[in-house]
Amino acid sequence: MSLVDDIRNDLVEYAGLEDDSPTDLDVAMQRIVSEHGAEAMLDEDRFRVLMGECGVSELDIRKALLLAKVDGFGELVTNSGFCAQADLDRFASNAELQSGLNRYEIVRFLRAFSLAAGIAYEYGEPSPPSDSLVQERAFVVPESLYNNELQSFGNSLGKAVYNGSPLLELDFKPIEPLVEMGIPLAKHYMGYCLLHGSDDASTQNTGITLLSEAAAAGNTQAMAELGDYYYCLGTGSWTQAYECYTGLGALALSSERQTNILTILNRKSANSKTLILSAGMLALMLLAALFGFGANIVLGILFSLASAAVLALGFMHFRKSPYDDVYVFPVAIFVLWTISMAISSLI
């Protein structure tokens, strides 16, 4: 029995799955190759039309076309099924570098291409490391092995969220091994439940870690969830929220998240106004000091200079993190003015 079969059997046994049916993507690719030949995948326009006819989603079509432009794709699919493991690994590494897709996605498509092109891939002896880029192995784990479990858990999670029932009471057993295996969607589900289902900080932190891992592996929903998390933390972490929303999370933007992005963008404008108004207030304070309105003139000028330094820091911070909280700067200016007035009244 080959290692692939070992893994497959282990997974079936481990996750309690028995269905090993091919995914829709696998079927579509097999149909294209069987009806039009592997060369059809090399013609971008034809490949697009054929995938569309086979019912592949628009997002997957774009990803497949992106992968079709990766170096070595033509050799991979036109090699009449004779392809070394090293070639498979090399293509996966190239795809990571050139397409920007995450490894999970690459492997999912690679599996579909390989099955369609009849590539006899083996996972026997590891290929000798020629350089650091090809040291990672391109494990092609059929999605069908865990798809049902994930779908089932996803449905349960959706119902629980809709009904407002406790998320931590869901049955996590089916997805725990998938989380350990690093399946991004499983990590997303688990992370979501831990973050939203518990008040315990350490549990929530574990949830955040899982969501971060899922997002790093290319799960768009996890990235958007992280954006929500940072958004709800308050203005102090809106820069991170913005990065999440406008990065990979952009593919999972709901109307609420779009509103959040708009709010974050407005925040930049508001921050700018806050700093400009603070500058105006500082100018007035300086004038008041110069005219000797209560405060000692020398003290007033000294503290105005200190306030100016604070304000300069504020502008620098704003340039670096335009969506962050800048409330501290007008308050700091007012506190400095208060100190100058207090010292003046005590002298």
Binding site: N260, T263, F293, Y327, V328, V331, F334, L346
Partner: protein, 547 residues
């Protein structure tokens, strides 16, 4: 339930009996003590064993009556020995020749009205009748030119206070149990008869004990109503309130009406104590307002209503705090501050957010800043009236509000600025206001019976006093004595009226004002009437000269 109610009645009776016995220990006479014990035993039998009150505080008027009877029982021999039938005849002769008779007629009218309608009116009527009779015994000259003989002033003062206290007890009793009108009417007649008999019929006795009463009254703030005694009293009353509360099976406490009444008593006792420290001319009206407020809360509690949306205990706490703050301001002559405080409290009540988001609104922070600054300005207007101080306060107000608006007006979406920053700004404003509330002149006064020792000094050597005056003003706002220069250092000023006003000016040009109030029933206002007449004559002469 019956036994439970008896136990509750026992708590009040026990506390009252304990107080009576403690008072009796200082004046132990074997026969008198025996009579007191008999009276207490009879009262215990009737009020506790045979009593039917489920709300024990409704018997409060009865307890006061029992205490009076116990007092008479203790000193029965001396009181009877001092009885003088001729004095009564003389008294009625006096009343018929001056305007005290009008008070007597009004009192009789109120007594009749109370007998027909509301028993508490009998308290007021009895007070008027008794006062007229006491004045007829101990005073001459009518209301306009009243002159007290001997210790008449003390007897009259004690009688008026006692009548007020009795009226409050009657009102409380009637409020808690409207069906016991007949008993209260009978008790009122007994109390009136006994008190008038002692005060008027046995004037020799009252004259004999008056000096000791006067001595005790002068020493009230440091002895009878010393803070530690008041606090012990409050703790005891609180303990009784706890004992009279109802406990549910879950262990939770549900305060009964009795407990609420006792908490109200704590508020009143603390209020009286505070007024002793911060006496001013209209203290009596202020105390009356507190009594009305407390009674209103008790009435609402009994009717199952809230007062201004607060539960009764919260309302008591608010009333006490407001009373203390306003008393301290009025007693220190800071009338503008008291008015500003009232306006701020009223505005806060009107503007309050009923949805519980009181502090989520930026306007609330602005309101707080304005309140701090306005309070400081009101204080400065009296204690350090200088233009530059107002400019400083304006700067604090402008920059404080500007910072709050910068924090709250430019925000993205519905996300408000963190409250901590608003809090920091408000704290800074409060700090600056407190630091601004300083004065350059210190005045210290130590009153005695006839005069007041005044010490005037500059707060800083760099800002000396350039001039100071004082003047005496009576309760009606009339200047008794014209402005007189007050030297820096110690001075001994004879107390001439209710109100002493000290004004000073420092080298920076700030004007400073201090006000001190003296109770007419505690001090002798030497020559005040003559001086008012002289001042009026001098003013008239001055006008004539100008013409």
């Amino acid at each position: 339930m019956q036994l439970l109610n008896m136990a509750r009645r026992g708590v009040l009776f026990g506390a009252n009996a304990l107080v009576v016995l403690i008072m009796m220990l200082g004046h132990m006479e074997p026969i008198g003590a025996l009579r007191v014990c008999v009276v207490l035993a009879a009262a215990g039998f009737l009020l506790v064993y045979k009593g039917k009150a489920s709300c024990v505080m409704e018997d409060i008027a009865t307890y006061v009556c029992v205490d009076l009877v116990a007092y008479v029982a203790l000193w029965f021999d001396k009181i009877i020995a001092a009885y003088d039938a001729k004095a009564i005849g003389t008294m009625f002769e006096k009343i018929s020749t001056n305007d005290f008779g009008i008070l007597l007629m009004i009192g009789v009218g109120l007594l009749i009205a109370g007998f027909i309608w509301k028993p508490w009116l009998m308290g007021v009527g009895g007070g008027c009748v008794g006062s007229a009779l006491v004045l007829g015994t101990f005073a001459t000259g009518g209301f306009k030119h009243i002159e007290f003989a001997g210790n008449g002033k003390i007897v009259f003062t004690v009688y008026v206070f006692s009548a007020a206290f009795w009226t409050l007890c009657l009102y409380m009793s009637e409020m808690l149990q409207p069906k016991r009108k007949t008993l209260d009417k009978i008790l009122s007649l007994i109390v009136l008869a006994v008190s008038v008999f002692i005060a008027v019929g046995c004037s020799a006795y009252t004259n004999a004990i008056a000096p000791e009463i006067a001595k005790n009254m002068y020493a009230l703030p440091v002895e009878g109503f010393a803070w530690w005694r008041v606090l012990v009293c409050a703790i005891v009353l609180g303990g009784m309130a706890y004992a009279l509360s109802n406990r549910r099976s879950t262990g939770a406490i549900w305060w009964s009406t009795d407990s609420i009444v006792l908490f109200g008593c704590i508020v009143l006792v603390l209020g009286i104590r505070v007024l002793m420290d911060y006496y001013f001319i209209f203290s009596w009206a202020f105390m009356l307002a507190l009594v009305v407020a407390v009674y209103r809360c008790i009435f609402n509690e009994k009717s199952g209503k809230t007062t201004f949306g607060f539960d009764t205990l919260t309302c008591f706490a608010v009333e006490l705090v407001v009373f203390i703050v306003l008393s301290s301001m009025l007693g220190s002559g800071l009338v503008p501050s008291a008015i500003v405080t009232c306006v701020i409290l009223l505005a806060a009540y009107v503007l309050r957010d009923k949805r519980g988001k009181y502090l989520a609104n930026a306007n609330v922070w602005v309101f707080l800043v304005v309140a701090f600054v306005v309070e400081a300005v009101a204080w400065l207007g009296v204690r350090h009236n200088l233009a530059i101080e107002y400019v400083r306060m304006a700067a604090i107000l402008v920059f404080g509000i500007a910072t709050l608006l910068i924090l709250n007006k430019h925000r993205a979406g519905d996300v408000p600025a963190p409250r901590k920053w608003d809090t920091v700004v408000c704290c800074c404003v409060a700090l600056l206001c407190v630091l601004s509330m300083h004065t350059s002149v210190n005045v210290k006064t130590t009153p005695a019976a006839d005069n007041v020792k005044t010490t005037l000094s500059a707060a800083r050597e760099s800002n000396p006093i350039t001039g100071a005056t004082y003047e005496w003003v009576n309760a009606f706002g009339e200047v008794v004595a014209p402005k007189t220069p007050l030297p820096v250092g110690e001075s001994n000023l004879p107390i001439q009226a209710d109100h002493l006003v000290v004004r000073a000016t420092d080298s920076a040009g700030a004007t400073i004002r201090y006000d001190y109030y003296y109770a007419s029933w505690m001090h002798n206002f030497a020559g005040s009437r003559q001086q008012v007449a002289d001042a009026a004559a001098a003013a008239a002469a001055s006008k004539e000269n100008k013409k």
